[in-house]
Subunit: 421 residues, 2 copies
C-alpha cells in the first residue's frame, strides 16, 4: 500500500456548538451541544474530516481508536469496527440502561456507541482517501445516482433565545417559522418536532401548515411520546395531509399495532436504529420508512447496506438528523447521492446551526444541496472556528459536555418531567 494512504495521526477535537432552545419530548436543547471532530491525517500530509456525537462516552471510545489507527491504510474502513472493539472496552457508564439522551435511539449498548464513533473515523478516512486520489466520496461508494439531494425543513416549537428566530409555541408561530424556511432555503417538505404540547395543539399546527402550504409533504415526530390510542387519533385527524407520522409511540410492538390500524405511513429513527432491530420490525410491518443516520449505523458503507435492506423489503428510506455541522451534512449528501430510490427529503437540523467548522457554509437552493464532485467530502476545515469552539468546550465546567435535554429543561423548570400523552 502506498505510504501516502497510511494514517499518520488522528486528531480528536471536542467542541461545543451553539444551539437554539428547541423543544422536544426529552426537554430542550442545551445552549451548547457537544460534537466531536475527527481528523485523520495521512503520511502524505492529507487530512480527512469526520464528525459525530461528542458526549463523554463518545470521547472515551474515540480516544483508544485514535491511538490504534496510525499505521493502517485509510482504505481499510471495513476493519474499523473490529479495531474499535480491540482498542478498548466501552466504559461501564457508557452503557447505563435508559434512553440515549443525545440520540433517542433506545437503550444504549457498547456496539451502538462504537458505531457512532466509528462513523466519524470512516467518514474521515474516506475524505482523506478521496482527497488523496482526487475523487469525491460518492465515487468511492460506487458513484452518485443523482446530482442534488433534497432536504426538509425541520420545524420546532421553541423559546425565544439569543437566536433571531424568536418564539414558536403555537400553530401561528410554527407557520411563521415554516415561511422563513421556505423563503430562505426553498424546502418543499416540512417536519414538525412534536410530543411537546398536547396532541390537539400539534394537530392544529400541522393543519395550519397544510393550509399555508397546500400539497406540501408534512411530517410530525413526537419521538415516541404518545400511546397507541393517541397515535391513532392523531393519524385519523391528519391522514389527508401527512406524508408520514414519525415514531408516534415507543417500541416496535406499539408501532406495529398503530401501523395495522392506519393507512398513514409510519417512519422511525427510534425502533430501527441497528441491523439487529430490522428483522422483527420489518416482519411486524411496524415501519414503512426508516430514517437512517449514518452516525448511528456506523458510517457511509453501512448506510448503503441499510438502503439495500430497505429496498429488498419494500421499506422506504430517508435520513434522520440530530444537531450536526457541515462535515456531517456533506457526508449525508455524499452517501444520499449514491442511494437509488431515495424518495423522501432528508431531515437536517443544519439551518439551526449558526456556527460551523467548515467553510464556506453549504447553501440550500430549492431545498436541495448540490452533490459536490470535489475531492473527498468537498468541505474545508475552518481551523479558527474549530479552535474557538474547542476553547468553549475546554472552558465548560462539565455542565454541557454531555447533552442532556431534560437537565437543560430542569435548569428552567426544576420539576419538569417528560409527558406521555
Amino acid at each position: 500500500m502506498d505510504a501516502k494512504l497510511i494514517v499518520d495521526e488522528v486528531r480528536l477535537t471536542p467542541i461545543l456548538v451553539s444551539d437554539p432552545p428547541l423543544l422536544n419530548t426529552q426537554g430542550v436543547h442545551q445552549p451548547h451541544t457537544p460534537r466531536l471532530v475527527v481528523e485523520v491525517v495521512t503520511r502524505g500530509g492529507v487530512s480527512g474530516l469526520g464528525e459525530t456525537y461528542g458526549d463523554g462516552v463518545h470521547l472515551d471510545v474515540a480516544r483508544p481508536l485514535a491511538e490504534a489507527l496510525p499505521g493502517r491504510p485509510v482504505t481499510d474502513v471495513n476493519g474499523l469496527f473490529a479495531l474499535a472493539e480491540e482498542a478498548g472496552d466501552v466504559p461501564r457508564h457508557g452503557t447505563d440502561p435508559g434512553v440515549d439522551a443525545s440520540g433517542l435511539r433506545g437503550v444504549r449498548t457498547a456496539d451502538k456507541l462504537r458505531l457512532s464513533v466509528v462513523s466519524a473515523f470512516e467518514t474521515a478516512c474516506l475524505d482523506a482517501l478521496g482527497r488523496t486520489l482526487g475523487l469525491p466520496v460518492h465515487a468511492l461508494l460506487g458513484g452518485k445516482v443523482r446530482d442534488e439531494v433534497e432536504y426538509s425543513a425541520y420545524l420546532f416549537h421553541k423559546w425565544a433565545g439569543t437566536d433571531d428566530w424568536g418564539e414558536a409555541l403555537d400553530p401561528a408561530g410554527i407557520v411563521a417559522q415554516a415561511r422563513r424556511f421556505d423563503r430562505a432555503y426553498g424546502f418543499r417538505s416540512f417536519k414538525l418536532k412534536g410530543g411537546v404540547f398536547e396532541p390537539a395543539r400539534e394537530i392544529a399546527a400541522i393543519r395550519a401548515l397544510a393550509d399555508a402550504f397546500p400539497g406540501r409533504p408534512l411530517r410530525l415526530d413526537p419521538n415516541g411520546a404518545w400511546t397507541v390510542r393517541t397515535s391513532l387519533a392523531v393519524a385519523r385527524a391528519l391522514k389527508d395531509v401527512l406524508e408520514y407520522l414519525e415514531d408516534p409511540a415507543s417500541g416496535t410492538a406499539a408501532m406495529a399495532e398503530i401501523a395495522a390500524r392506519t393507512d398513514v405511513p409510519l417512519a422511525t429513527n427510534m425502533c430501527v436504529t441497528t441491523f439487529e432491530e430490522i428483522p422483527e420490525a420489518f416482519a411486524a410491518g411496524a415501519v414503512r420508512i426508516v430514517l437512517c443516520d449514518h452516525h448511528y449505523w456506523g458510517g457511509l458503507h453501512r448506510t448503503r447496506e441499510l438502503a439495500a435492506l430497505c429496498r429488498t423489503y419494500g421499506v422506504g428510506l430517508s435520513m434522520h438528523s440530530n444537531t450536526h455541522l457541515g462535515i456531517s451534512l456533506a457526508a449525508m449528501t455524499q452517501v444520499a447521492a449514491t442511494l437509488p430510490g431515495l424518495r423522501h427529503a432528508c431531515d437536517t437540523h443544519y439551518p439551526w446551526q449558526t456556527e460551523d467548522v467548515v467553510t464556506p457554509r453549504p447553501v440550500f437552493r430549492a431545498g436541495r444541496l448540490t452533490v459536490s464532485d470535489a475531492p473527498g467530502l468537498g468541505v474545508d476545515l475552518d481551523r479558527e472556528a474549530l479552535a474557538t469552539l474547542h476553547r468553549r468546550w475546554l472552558a465548560d465546567d462539565g455542565t454541557l459536555r454531555n447533552r442532556d435535554d431534560a437537565a437543560a429543561m430542569r435548569r428552567i423548570h426544576p420539576n419538569w418531567t417528560p409527558t406521555r400523552w
Copy 2:
C-alpha cells in the same frame, strides 16, 4: 472527473472454453462452454477486466451496454444497471420461461440477464479504477478483512473425456477424485454435485467421502432434483456428516418444508438468486446459507449488500460457482476478502478449467487463495490465449455458443430427459 478515469472503449470477446464432461441433473457439460470477457479501456490507456456468462442472450445485452459506456467514469458503477436498461431491451428470446440452462437460477427474467452482464462491466470498471489508482479492488470495497479466502473441492460424477481426470461414476471414483483435489490443492471441504444418479448411490458417495476424510465439511447438491420426501430421506441418512445440503428440492416452498423437518442446514443458489426472492425465503426459514454468485447478483457491490442482508437475518453466506475463468475467480476472491462472517469455504469450478485467459494461473494452497494486494483484480490478460479461445468461438457452427447441458447429453443419449427422484 480526471480524464484518466473516463471510459474510452469497451471490448467484448466471446470465447469457448474447454470443459470436461461433468454430469449434473440438467445433463452434461458441453465440451466447450461460452464465456464473455469484457475489457473496459480508459482514456488513460488502462484496461480493466470482467468475465461473465457468454450465451447469445448475454451478448445481446452486453453489446448495447458496451456502446453506451464510453464517456462515463469508471467510478460510476452504481449507475450501470440503469444504463443497461436504457441501452437496450432484452431480446424476447432472452426471457423465455423455463430454467436458465447455464445458471440454474429459476425462470429467466430481463433483470436477471442484465444483472449477469452488468456484473462483468462492474468488475472491469473496478479493475480499471484500481489499476489507475494503484489500489486492489478490495480496497475499493472498503478493504479486506482477511488475507486468504478458502475454497472447496467441487466433485462431479463424470465421464472419461479428453481431460486426465478419468471417469467417476461411483463412490470409489468420487473418493479418488477427492483425493486428487486434496493432494493437488489442499481443499478441506468437499462438495459433490448430485442429482445425477439414484439418491442411494449419492448417499453412498458421501458416506465414502466421510470415511476417507473424517471430519471434513461435506456438501451435496442435486440442483433441486429431489422431492421433499427424498430430500428428507437423504438428510436423515447423512445428517451426521453433512455441512449442508444444497438445493435438495426446487422452490422456496419445498425448501421450507424440508428445512422445517431436518436439522441439516439447507443452502441455495436456486431459490434465492435475486434480492426480490429474499423476503419470502427468509421469512419461511427455507435456507440457512445463501450461495452468492456475483454474476447473478449484479457485481461486487451488490454481493456486499447481499452479505449485509444475510448477516442481518442470521443467514450464512458462501459462494456459488459455475464454469468460470481466472478473472471471475479473482473477483470472487477480492469481494470475499471484504465480507465479515464468511464461515463456509466458497465453491469454485476453477480446477476443472485447463484453459484460462489470465496468466499466471492462480494457485490454491491448503485450499486457499491469497488475496492479492496488487492494483485492480491482480490478474493479467493473456491476449494470445484470449485470441485462441475467441477463434474457437468464431469457428463454432452455433452448437456450443449457448450452453445447454441437456442438448449436450442428448447428443450422446438422444432420448435423455432429466430425472426427478
